[in-house]
Amino acid sequence: MKNWLDKMPKRMNWTDYFEKAPHLWPDIAGRWPGFIQAAKEKAAAETARKGFPHARLEAWRKTPLNQWRTAAVEPAGVSRRVSDGRLFPAATIHIPLTNGIPVATWHEENSISFGRLSEAVQQMPEVVKQYFGGLQRLSDDAMTDFNTAYFKDGLFVYVPEGTGKVRLEWTNLIDAATAHLWNGRMLVIVEPDNEVEMAGTDIAEGEAISIGTRVAEIFVQRASTFRFYGWQQLNDVSALVGHYFMQAADEARIDGFNFPLNGGLLREEVWADITGSGARVNLHGFYAPAGDQQTDERIFVAHGAEGSFSHQQFKGLIDGRAKALFNGRILVRPGAQQTNAYQKNDNILLSDEARAHSLPFLEIYADDVSCSHGSTTGSLNGEALFYMQQRGLAPELAQRLMLYGYADEVIGEIPDEELQALTRRLVRAKIDGRLSSETDIFALVREEILSPVE
């Protein structure tokens, strides 16, 4: 087979990959069995048809991609670099990824199977066929089509019914030695009666531009709990646009925590599709973009069954010329009676040029429901600062304590105490301005283990 490099320039603008998707994708994504091949073909056509997301689209209105639109990038090649950094001490399974693809090959461990998606289609073809692409259709964002067309491989995790407690962690090393584009994929199936905790860190090494997309599809079946933690530590010229689709069946529970640390654009879009009665979804996040960074949290919770519960708690601290977007949506489908859905977003602006956009959106098609949302955006409470100063605290210390406390309202919700402490260390470092994109977050966390802060 002829290398695609022969046919096109080594690097292209991100936008060009959209236009050329129908021709380019097979060279970048490789060969796949029938149903995935078909999905890719269709997605490639959609990618070209929809084109690169523009500012007139509601979903991208507040997220200018100018800087990346014309960035010349090449598809991520095979990288041998691996990160063994870890943030989740309790995890017994650690899966290193490079540019979104598992480094090690297929594993079966205590009935759990995990590895590359390309292996999963060989090992458990029916399972992949049953679930692959099943949730992604919730969104019509061209980015998800783009990802589907171009992904080269991805992570597959399968937890069969009644396995019990599973704690796993992946660390995704984004090799930013040269300007590149990577597309990560995840398919996670949690069968009934399990408790799965998954922590994931994206970390870029190198100074070059990296543009990443991710589509994760996560199925949480009857009476199972799925808890996920995310941290992103990229350089300031890199972007990561992630879509996380989750389905909660009867009595299932999903808890999510996201902590964007550094990166030019860190955008996560979570779709929690509640299809089972009595399911519970709790999504939390704390973002603190500074300098020219931007964070986007787009959280969509759809209640489609009776007696389900959801809670969204997102807080931000925006400094410098940074921007933060929170777009929280609650959808109560017809018949989803006795839904309880809450949403709260708070933003503190630390500079005159910092911007926060809070866009709540409630769509309710059932009558017996209890829904609420609230959002605040303001500067640091000057009254409280004076109050603390009046007790002898220097203004910097007073501000720090207040901001720590503000972040702690999110961090304090993390059930695992160790994870809580490690996250606190990272977030406090970010608040103090000690955590830049050059910081080794794993070293910071080791400090926490050696000498904990209160």
Partner: protein
């Protein structure tokens, strides 16, 4: 007359918020060991005086000077003033979500110790002191370890102010209407707390609308403030006279 040096000396203090002059020439001298009460109608500048003394933003001192313990108070930042021993029990204490009372008090005590060249307080010693002072003021269990003032009732906030006063042991404490919003038991507890904290080297400036508090915390001097000035001063009997006649008549007598 007291032979010591004054702890606080306010000379011809004028202060404005924007273009509006609020304090129009306040003079006051407080010696160690004394309790002064300031009374006066709403909006005459009592809280303004407290804020100007403690250095809150938004006030411009247009004339006059203030000396505290021999130092020029108006040149200091709010935290320096606190570290020098000035304390304000706020008329409206502020809620600070996410900051626990213990962390807050530990930080305040350590800041003070550092200012005086001391090591941070040992956690065990801190907790012992923390509990002891809460017991002394009969602080309800439910507010003992919460975020600062968060979800406290009005009265609980006021008690919590006096608890902080007890922890920090300032040289001069200004109590801005600490008695308003307190029930009778709380009032007694607060007053007892204050009386127990009285020492020959410290002083209190008590702003109140009611004679009632002054039955418990007996002042050496009572000042009546009107339209940004202290218009009359006397001993504790002035408060009784005021209760009887009201501001209008006293102001008329004064004129």
């Amino acid at each position: 007359m007291n032979k010591q040096k004054p702890l606080l000396e306010i000379k011809d203090l004028h202060a404005a918020i924007g273009d509006k002059e609020i304090l129009k020439g306040v003079n006051l001298r407080i010696y160690p060991g004394e309790v002064h009460a300031v009374m006066g109608p709403n909006g005459t500048g009592k809280s303004t005086l407290a804020y100007v003394l403690t250095g809150r933003e938004g006030y411009e001192v247009t004339r006059g000077e203030v000396w505290f313990n021999g130092k020029n108070l108006l040149e200091m930042s709010p935290d320096e003033r606190a570290l020098e021993g000035l304390f304000l029990s706020f008329q409206y204490p502020v809620e600070i979500p996410g900051v626990s009372m213990t962390n807050f008090m530990k930080a305040a005590i350590d800041a003070k110790r550092k200012y005086h060249g001391l090591e941070p307080i040992k956690p065990g010693e801190f907790l012992r002191m923390y509990r002891e002072k809460q017991d002394m003021l009969g602080l309800p269990e439910r507010i003992r370890n919460r975020a600062v003032n968060e979800g406290f009732s009005g009265g609980e906030k006021k008690r919590n102010e006096i608890f902080q006063l007890a922890m920090l042991e300032p040289l001069l404490a200004i109590l801005d209407e600490t008695d308003s919003g307190l029930d009778i038991d709380a009032l007694r507890a607060v007053a007892e707390g204050v009386n127990r904290l009285r020492r020959p080297d410290n002083a209190f400036l008590v702003i109140t609308h009611y004679q009632r508090l002054l039955n418990h915390i007996v002042p050496d001097y009572v000042h009546i403030m009107h339209d940004g000035r202290i218009v009359r001063s006397g001993d504790k009997n002035l408060a009784l006279e005021l209760e009887e006649k009201g501001y209008e008549e006293l102001a008329r007598q004064n004129a």
